[in-house]
Amino acid sequence: MSVQAPAAVHPAPSLHRALKLVHHNFLAYQHHWIAFVTGFFEPLFYLVGVGFGVGQFIETISYGDMRLEYASFLAPGLLAAATLNGALYDGFFSPFFRLNWEKTYDGIIATPVSISDIAVGEVLWALIRGTIYGFGFLIVMLVLGLVHSAWALLALPAVMLSGGALSAGAMILTSITKQLSSLEKVMTLVVFPLFLFSGTFFPVSLYPEYLRPVVQATPLYHSASLLRDLTSGQVGLPTIGHVAYLGAMFVIAATIAIRLMRRRLIS
């Protein structure tokens, strides 16, 4: 069924062409600046409501050889969750509509821009937005005294790495989802459990022994832990493990996403 097509039909992705898509998204997005600005507030409300609101009933949480205030524990988790949300919005919801409803991609691949360019472009776009949000949130953390180490300077590249890995994963979802009702299922069965159970709101040590490996297999766990290691200064061998996991996920998921997208659009 899937015969390897000649190279001329599927040229390697080019940054120049991928940037065309980024430019398209930017132009389309200019009309939605409210969505852009308000996106920044959602994690902030969680930080205030849960981090400080519920946090005042909570003793400090031990993390590495430190004891963290609850808000300091939660904030990097929320940053990771916001990265996941952004990756889903830009890597799954928007492309889903462009692919299935607006048929934007059908129009685009009639131009010299190829399918791999689209995939690269969407991930790049997601990265740009995620980086801006991540930067804003880190500044807020700094102002609120939730940053405890200079390692936090590396938190922004860490946000980009997480964003890349998660967006690539989201693009896989895009290429296999055809129905609108599946969107709701993905939210409830994949995103919501990730959000709640990946060590975002409470430490993995609270889980029974047999559940911990399950949690530790999820990408959001690694993303949250990486950011937490950096903002609290508890950097060590596990930190490198989180980076390796996210890096590997990015490469593998991006490869699969491009292949699936190709099959989906040319059939």
Binding site: H31, H32, I34, A35, T38, G39, F41, E42, F45, Y46, V48, G49, V50, G53, V54, Q56, F57, I58, E59, I61, Y70, S181, E184, K185, T188, L189, F192, P193, L196, F197, F201, F202, L206
Partner: protein, 253 residues
């Protein structure tokens, strides 16, 4: 069969196909939320800290029951309604039948009540299974949160009737619904808020819903319950009156 119920039947028929998976998801959602926040986060709460005698799981679960009804009520009055006004033009077709604008509005509100109960009843069941209630009086929480969900939906419905596109929903959701969700006494008592925050909470329908739910499920029913109910009924009434007027202006200009 009176006219607005025709709308309910129509919506239920549309809804029917996805029903089984929706029901499954509406049970799974609360189970996950209660496990993560009530049990997980709750276990971090200081030993001996109670919320007027309730533990954190009880406190949180009752708040989140009301908060979910608010989210569901608001959501039902946004995209689905806009779809029928702007995108699918369902109402234009319905107005060609003997149905009036008022029938359509009331029928939609009744549909929202049905979908709220499909959310609230399973949620309530999950809470009972978590051992949150110790009195049968807790059942009263179900009609209370349905009333509150409708009171949240009606003004949003009125707002939807004035909109041309769904863009406003982004800020409605992020700047109104999310802060209400987190700061109306759902996650922590509003006594912990600064004075202006408490004043703000008292103005929100969710706060009144949460208070009522906690009174019937965890605490004693107090005289303030009358005020909370009056607030919700008044909000619903105002929302319906303005909503019918706005929808009328929109559909029959």
């Amino acid at each position: 069969m009176s006219s607005p119920t025709n709308i309910v039947t129509r919506n239920l028929l549309v809804f029917w196909r996805g029903w089984r998976s929706s029901f499954f998801l509406s049970v799974l959602g609360p189970v996950m939320f209660l496990s993560a926040m009530g049990l997980g986060l709750g276990s971090l709460v200081q030993e001996g800290r109670t919320f007027d005698g309730a533990d954190y799981l009880q406190f949180f679960a009752t708040g989140i029951l009301a908060a979910s009804a608010m989210q569901s009520g608001v959501f039902s009055a946004t995209y689905p309604i806009m779809g029928r006004i702007v995108w699918q033009k369902t109402y234009e077709a319905l107005l060609a039948t003997p149905l009036s604008v008022r029938d359509i509005f009331i029928g939609e509100m009744m549909s929202i009540a049905v979908s709220l109960s499909l959310l609230v009843v399973p949620f309530f069941g999950v809470m009972a299974a978590f051992g949150i209630f110790d009195s049968p009086r807790a059942v009263l929480a179900v009609p209370i949160v349905i009333l509150m969900g409708l009171a949240c939906a009606a003004p949003v419905f009125a707002y939807t009737a004035t909109l041309e596109s769904d863009e406003a929903y982004t800020w409605l959701w992020r700047l109104v619904v999310t802060p209400l969700f987190l700061l109306s006494g759902t996650f922590f008592p509003i006594e912990e808020l600064p004075a202006w925050g408490r004043a703000f909470a008292h103005a929100t329908p969710l706060f009144h819903g949460v208070e009522l739910v906690r009174q019937v499920t965890l605490y004693d029913v107090e005289a303030s319950a009358v005020w909370h109910i009056a607030y919700l009924v008044a909000l619903l009434a105002v929302g319906v009156v303005i909503g019918i007027r706005k929808l009328d202006a929109r559909l029959l200009p």
